[in-house]
Amino acid sequence: MMTPEQNFMRKIEAEEKIEPKDWMPESYRQNLIRQISQHAHSEVIGMQPEGNWITRAPSLRRKAVLLSKVQDEGGHGLYLYSATETLGVKRADLIAAMQSGEAKYASIFNYPTQTWADIGAIGWLVDGAAIVNQVSLQRTSYGPYSRAMIRICKEESFHQRQGYELMIALAHGSPEQKAMAQDALNRFYWPALMMFGPHDAESAHSAKSMTWKIKRETNDDLRQKFIDQTVPQIEFLGLEHPDKDLKWNAERGHYDSGEIDWAEFYNVINGNGHCNRQRVEHHIRAHEEGAWVRDAMTAYNAKQQAKTAEQRQAA
């Protein structure tokens, strides 16, 4: 007879998915709650920097594309909150944890979107980096998370193409547009590399997540994939690569790159980037301003239920 724990590990090793009703170690559950809710919060907070340009998009087509993209991000937030709820937590509590700063969201969204080109850079680089990570997560051991990733990856690939297409229009446009594209690339390239997290040796959650197959590839391996795939994309745009130390390493079959500014990484993660406070305050403000609407819904539903009960009694 296998213990529940042995059976759990057997499934993990056999690449069987763990489903909500299956036995799982408490720390596996907690680890998943942390990771999936963080992912959900990232989608939702990510709506702010992109939403920042919806009202100023320079053409109606771009406005529609951006609106629809931000709407998709909201949809991703919803599936991911639902996936987290399968682990026995409530969305309202997850949101409260994000608002109190206890739960994190992707640090990249603490960088401001200063120009229109940033919308292209986010689609291309930020969604691009997210996809590298998410493609790997399609094979994650927890069933609901894996299925959410498969669905989300499809839409994210579409967003990345749209972002890159926006960059092409700028990079091949007027000198001012090209400068705007270069500036956005310079500002978003390094933060995009940071999205893969610290080096494997420094990563707090990596080892256990790898054993449980929540994570399938290491931070550094995923980051390398992204670095390699981005080089020809920058060349095609005719822009300068922001990493002056970048060099092809024939022996490794990969690009060697300059070191990330880890002091900046930890500074932003620890809450001191340009927009950390703004993002959370914005979320809290919208949430508080909407409280009367949610209260009204609850009151209305209660009245309706009471009416139905009354009618039933009368009948």
């Binding site: 109606l60 909150y81 949610r294 009204a296 819904m297 009151a299």
Partner: protein, 255 residues
């Protein structure tokens, strides 16, 4: 009306309808990341997208009729406030959620009667755009109707906010049923719609919904007008500052 006049009038009419759509779509898009909860954020963006899509169709058609190489974006981004011809109700600020939903209710019920009439237009492009809008409007009205009930008959506060929004928007609804000589001529020619004829049905349905929601239908004792002659509220100028800034800052660029 000679053929040439009809074409010019149709072009002007399509521009007006494009203005209505872009301005309301823009206002709705201001809710993105600001809605009371995530599902509603997504739904409001969805409605905004429908209006932006509609604006693009009307403007593209107006540009095509003008035949001077101008595009939908020239119409949206390079005209000044006084050249915009949208009805005022569309440009008013987003306000609180009650204000937005009351405006949607008024406009959605209007479109419920207006678009099926426009879909009968002898102009097949306008008829086609209207046809697509009918389906969208069914969804929009289902939402604004449900919200009217929930908020009207929710809490004391939600009821108060709804009634206040109804009072402050009511005077802007009259303009929906106006028609200047151009619109009358277009309607007579079978291209446009006799808007005035739609008011009884509009009033009946709006009154029914408001009553069901335990809200009060205001008296018709004030009206503000001017959108179709470019006499706008102060709000539109600020909205266009935002909307047009980038396009105007780098003239002649492709985006």
């Amino acid at each position: 009306m000679s053929d040439f006049d009809l074409k010019t009038a149709t072009q002007e009419y399509a521009t007006r309808l494009g203005d209505d759509s872009v301005v309301l779509g823009h206002r709705l898009s201001e809710w993105t990341s600001n809605a009371p909860f995530l599902e509603e954020d997504i739904a409001l963006s969805n409605v905004a997208l429908d209006y932006i899509g509609r604006a693009r169709m009307y403007y593209s058609y107006a540009a095509e009729l003008a035949g001077n190489g101008k595009t939908e974006d020239d119409l949206a981004y390079t005209r000044d406030m006084r050249e915009f011809r949208n009805l005022l109700i569309h440009e008013l600020p987003r306000g609180d959620f009650a204000y937005t939903m009351v405006r949607q209710l008024f406009v959605d019920v209007f479109n419920t009667y207006y678009l099926p009439e426009l879909a009968k237009s002898s102009d097949s492009t306008l008829a086609g755009i209207a046809q697509k809008g009918i389906k969208e409007t069914r969804y929009h009205l289902r939402r604004s109707h449900e919200w009217a009930l929930r908020l009207g008959d929710g809490t004391e506060e939600s009821h108060k906010r709804m009634q206040r929004a109804i009072e402050s928007l009511w005077g802007y609804t009259h303009e929906l049923f106006d028609a200047d000589p151009l619109e009358v001529q277009l309607a007579d020619a079978g291209v446009g719609v006799h808007n005035a004829a739609l008011r009884p049905a509009w009033l009946e349905q709006v009154s029914e919904i408001l009553t069901e929601a335990s809200l009060t239908v205001p008296k018709d004792d004030w009206a503000v007008r001017g959108g179709r002659i470019g006499y706008h509220t102060e709000n539109l100028g600020h909205m266009l500052n935002d909307m047009q800034f980038l396009h105007r800052a780098y003239p002649g660029c492709q985006w």
